[in-house]
């Protein structure tokens, strides 16, 4: 993937770039907002990672101008502080996701993947299939190998998010945000609890578990298990 990284703190930028490159991405970097805006306009990127606080042209303004110019590159904001209205401000400026520093590298990569995978506007899916699991968004029915799996609404949402990001690491935080709309870290392992119930129901017919737990990070739904 081609990623644009805009960050004014040089050590953070260097770490960001090397991590992204190590994960197999091509990275263009900018140390300030003006450069970032120029790069974003000149070439197309799959995802832009933009720090909120930048000298000169700040992150919010950069994205606002980018959107005004019609550039639709998905933007992931980085911020040092999860302020009260920071998230809302970021989304209203045209950002697509939001990550509070410090963050785990796996978290950043998972979110970049999720952003890049967003279906283009206008394409509406009604049924998602992964291996022998089928999820109907209209009837909200799930089957595995043709057998109906009876899921609670949140378990359904969990599975839907995993299926939309099949083969990719999905972090606990991503699930908390998309399934429960919780934009903070609760102490309780809500995700684990619901995930174990989902798995128990999904695998009740004795089939192999398609969900892999990545310790300390999250989960991966594999397509090659049936």
């Amino acid at each position: 993937m081609k990623i644009l990284a805009v960050e004014d703190d040089a050590p953070t930028l260097a770490l960001l770039v090397s991590s992204l490159e190590e994960a197999g991405h091509v990275v263009e970097q900018a140390g300030d907002g003006q450069t970032g805006l120029r790069l974003a306009r000149e070439t197309a990127h799959d995802v832009a990672v933009v720090d909120r606080m930048l000298p000169g042209l700040d992150g919010l303004e950069l994205v606002r101008q980018l959107r005004a110019l019609g550039v639709q590159t998905p933007v992931l904001f980085l911020t040092t502080m999860g302020g009260i209205s920071d998230r809302v401000d970021g989304l209203e400026a045209g950002g697509d996701d939001y990550l509070v520093k410090p963050f785990a590298l796996a978290e950043l990569l998972a979110r970049i993947n999720a952003l890049a995978r967003r279906p283009p506007l206008g394409r509406v899916e009604t049924i998602i299939r992964v291996a022998n699991v089928e999820l109907d968004l209209v009837t909200r029915r799930v089957t595995r190998a043709g057998h109906v799996v009876d899921l609670q609404p949140r378990e359904f949402s969990l599975l839907e998010f995993l299926m939309r990001n099949v083969g990719q690491l999905v972090t606990r935080r991503q699930l908390l945000e998309s399934v429960w709309d919780f934009h903070f870290d609760p102490r309780t392992n809500i995700v684990e609890t619901h995930m174990s119930r989902l798995r128990a129901k999904l695998n009740s017919d004795g089939g192999p578990d398609p969900i892999e737990t990545v310790r300390g990070s999250g989960y991966i739904l594999h397509a090659d298990i049936s």
Partner: protein, 455 residues
Amino acid sequence: MRTYRDLLRSAGLRFALLYTLAFMVSVGAIGWLTVLAVTDALERQAQRGVDNEARALVDEFNAGGRQDLEAALTGRFANPLTHTRYVLIGADGHVLLGDAALLPYTRDPAGPAASRSDVPLTAARKLGDGSIVLVADDLTDVRDVEAVVTRAFLTALAAAGLLGLGTALLLSSALLHRLDAITRTAEAVVAGDLTQRIARTGSQDEFDRLAATLNRMLDRIGGLMVNLRQVSTDIAHDLRTPLSRLRQGLEATSHRATTAGDYRVAVEHAVEETDRILDIFSALLRIAQIEATTLRKSFRPVSLSELFHTVADAYAAPASDSGRTLVARIVEDAWVQADHDLLAQLFVNLVENALQHTPPGSTVGLELDVRGGSVLAAVRDDGLGVPASEREKVLRRFYRLERSRSGPGNGLGLSLAAAVAELHGGRLTLSDAQPGLRVSVTFPVALPIGEGVAG
């Protein structure tokens, strides 16, 4: 310390002096008018006197002729007490009897006098034989009275001036004295002694009331300072512990670890410990940020009912896994003007607290109700509760009950919840659920606007 210069510069003195000056001007004006009125009245009386006297002399002449008149005049000259003067002038214009100096006044009442005050009052009458009799009063008595009255008023004026000056000095000195007490206390506070308070006189006058208000202000500032100091100490203490642990772990690793596996485990531990420290930091920052926020531009109508369902739904499974029961009684369509993320965190914190601080087998209840203009939200449990004396304290940063000190958590959850409640115009209160604890938050109800109902 107070000096004469302070006294001279004091506003009290200036006001008092101004007042004295105004008073003296009015006394002076009254005196001047009085002297004028008295003099006028006396002069009129004297005029009547000389007129009467002239008429009496004419009567004397008409009754007994020239001889009787002269006898009467001679008799009057002999009276040493009178200031009245007389002259009798023959038809040929020669002075027959009396004061020749009065001669010019028979032709012109103003006579040869240089000024009005020197003109004597006169009354002239022509007699049957062509002679003229003139009676004059040189106004000595009137001038005497005028002088006395004037002197009296000047004395009064001087006395008033002195009295005013004295009062002004006394008044401003008294004012300065009262203000000095306030200034001294303020100086002491500036110098760092926040325990100083302004002495009250108990008179309930404006100074006393000002002192009371300032004392209350100092109490408030003092409370905030103590709180701040406490928080700084707590932060230092609560961060030292995990930092020391981190350091010890790293030190031990550098001595003992030999394999890559050892190092990996050590690094994982270090990352976990660092995360805990960062969690404390971000919680503190968040509380500080929430407490400092007055701007509520991010507030939107939020369905508290929906939020409660989400929280109840999220925690039902973890609760039953840990042997507790989560029940919910949620009224529909309870809307508040709020920041969704903060409210979610508030109630998640409360539910997690309840689940964590109750023994297995307990029931935790989520309650949402709308009564009057308020949304009543509460989380209650049937656990051990919090003693009444501790209820205020557990809202403080880092404060933890003795029995839960060893458990997980950083003692910031309730502080954050309280700060969030306050930001939303609500108040978080702890009460006895008999048995157990009930934490309730009351919000002003917000009517959803536009599509808020459908969304």
